[in-house]
Symmetry: C2
Subunit: 427 residues, 2 copies
Amino acid sequence: MKADVLIHSASQILTLTGDPQRGSDLGKLGLIEDGAVAIGDEKILAVGSSAELRSAYQAEMEIDATNRVVLPGLVDPHTHLIWAGDRAAEFEMRVAGATYTEIMDAGGGIISTVHQTRAASVDALITQVQPRLRRMLAHGTTTAEVKTGYGLDTQTELRMLETILHLDKQGPMELAPTFLGAHAIPIEYSDRPDEYTNLVCDEMLPAVKEWWQQNAAGCQLPFVDVFCEAGAFNLDQSRRILERARTTGFPLKIHADEFNSLGGTGLAVELGATSADHLVYTTAEDILALGASDTVAVSLPCTPFGLAEEAYTPAKDFLQAGGILALATDLNPGTAWCESMQFAIALACRYMHLTPAQAIVAATINAAAAIGRADRVGSIQPGKQADLIILEAPDYRHLGYRFGTNLVTRTIKKGKIVYTQEEEEVL
Amino acid sequence: MKADVLIHSASQILTLTGDPQRGSDLGKLGLIEDGAVAIGDEKILAVGSSAELRSAYQAEMEIDATNRVVLPGLVDPHTHLIWAGDRAAEFEMRVAGATYTEIMDAGGGIISTVHQTRAASVDALITQVQPRLRRMLAHGTTTAEVKTGYGLDTQTELRMLETILHLDKQGPMELAPTFLGAHAIPIEYSDRPDEYTNLVCDEMLPAVKEWWQQNAAGCQLPFVDVFCEAGAFNLDQSRRILERARTTGFPLKIHADEFNSLGGTGLAVELGATSADHLVYTTAEDILALGASDTVAVSLPCTPFGLAEEAYTPAKDFLQAGGILALATDLNPGTAWCESMQFAIALACRYMHLTPAQAIVAATINAAAAIGRADRVGSIQPGKQADLIILEAPDYRHLGYRFGTNLVTRTIKKGKIVYTQEEEEVL
């Protein structure tokens, strides 16, 4: 049989075949030693032993993966990829001991990113986002969720959505869009959060739906997300937005329990949200509710790391409750400018006590479930997209064990090599 | 005037000119905006404004560093670069909750690395070390200290030294060797630590000196280092080894206060060691003594991170005492497989409360002082080696602020580009 690409002789192939993994089942890698993958027409044709596939397929390109691990492209199900400017000065103030108020007074915080993003055209946003997209691909992410939420007015929110759609069409990174008009209370509504909530419900949600139908007809509607947190949206405001979104036909997400527990996780379960994200201070009751539901628990360990906070998602509790656990970077300019899902894995092993195998499942098939795409990406399975990565390591446990660097030597998206860092290129 | 290379239009050049920086002086970057560096004959010819240098020099190669930061090549003054095998299985056991004893019983721990390193030839070691060297260069390290210490017998210790010398000669990475025969008590001496101490003093130190004189005549003797820690060498044993080493003419280093304070830091000061390293549990008295001395305090934040420990070097206390603070990775297969000094900087900002400027000084000119090479490397200063790096970032504070990825786009060693990751190469 013919194939476009045949990757062979991999010391390990992690297939991750099957459904997203719940609770104590988390960590089934579907490992094949001396494995091979055949790719054709942008899809996985077959996966199995090198001997078997090398005799069955004639490929235009062969990749020798001796001493290397092959696994599905990583899926990053929670990013704020699109922003203008940076907040390096604010970081410097923070590590020097400045308080939240001092940073705000100096013009820092999310509002400074909103200010810069409102002033940026679609082209300016694309120019600033490109290096981050390249960096994500280089670190093995082949599909990512991306949120709006640095506009906080209808016009800029739609411009962010337009930017996401443009970048997704351009490829090779596939982007799953999320409307996060309820990311923060904008400064012009600072004493009127309920009015801003009305604006999100009555103006933004209909505008997003209309814009989407005009510009992305036939594509699934974006997710609608709310930052349910002290200082952002309270439980009542979060409920109003998510209920309206659900009625309007949007799939749902929520930022819950990052610093305080306001009940957002229970709300997500009640409304059948696709995922609930952050989950650091979730109550025992909400952990049980989430564990019994199909809402994916998305943990963002780069955020406490970025802030040097001590508390991380109590992952073991979510697993004990039977939950579907996923990992994401939370890539954003304030708390976590980190494009690397490998680093999220390294943190999850150390601070959430996941084994490398559990963390890898949480970063692939379960992460795909967190954006409703587990049918297309997240595992190496015949018929699925040929999204995969090759590691400069002989054993999958090097993910987690090693940290602060990039172990990916090739990233393959829909059968095409989109990043390569071969040993020979250095020196 | 002629130059081999002219780097120009850098948004910032960090020159780091001057002496290693003590105490509250830490953080002087010598920043030049819209800066340029002229390189000739492997050395820095001049550094200044782009306008000035572009009119003064005609270069064979010009590098446009618009929107980029140029700084000295990073110096990593504490690594265990040379080892055979890996300890991924041990890492997996540890995150799954295995105790130290369970790991030892399963054949893990430093002794497993000793076992594999003893079995490896010089060629086998070189093959395994090459990818780590490339990764260090890719992440901006241009000079590194490297320890023996996975032999723990005279023959293997000398073989490790031979490997270091070979790799240093081969380049482009410059390596400063350290003899660490006193890294651990080998299993065959487990109940006779004093006898092993005798072996180090009476057999190994003379053998190292003799070997060195035969194989590296004219080069400065390697450092001699001791792991002064509960379970390794006590204060008396450490003193015996370091005093003998000093008498024999070796410059000194020490591993002190990583988990317990045994008095190793005070010993280092007393004996005029070049550096004392780890320094997590150092007593107030020893902090004052070190601060008043010329012994460099080398902090290794990747190690507590790797182990998910909460305690880091109390850097502010060392600075308040007037100490010379440096950063290193501690690259090793047990606790910190991390080749990136950028990640050590990101940790130091978050967990040791250094500003990015302070951490950068600690990773360049002060790190050079920690291996006695501040006269040759660690700053961009006419007459010094042309070791420098270019960041894909417009502001030096992106080091620290961003984490888990590599911001270096080019590494230049002695005037030659030895690593490049240009934007165009991705996608």
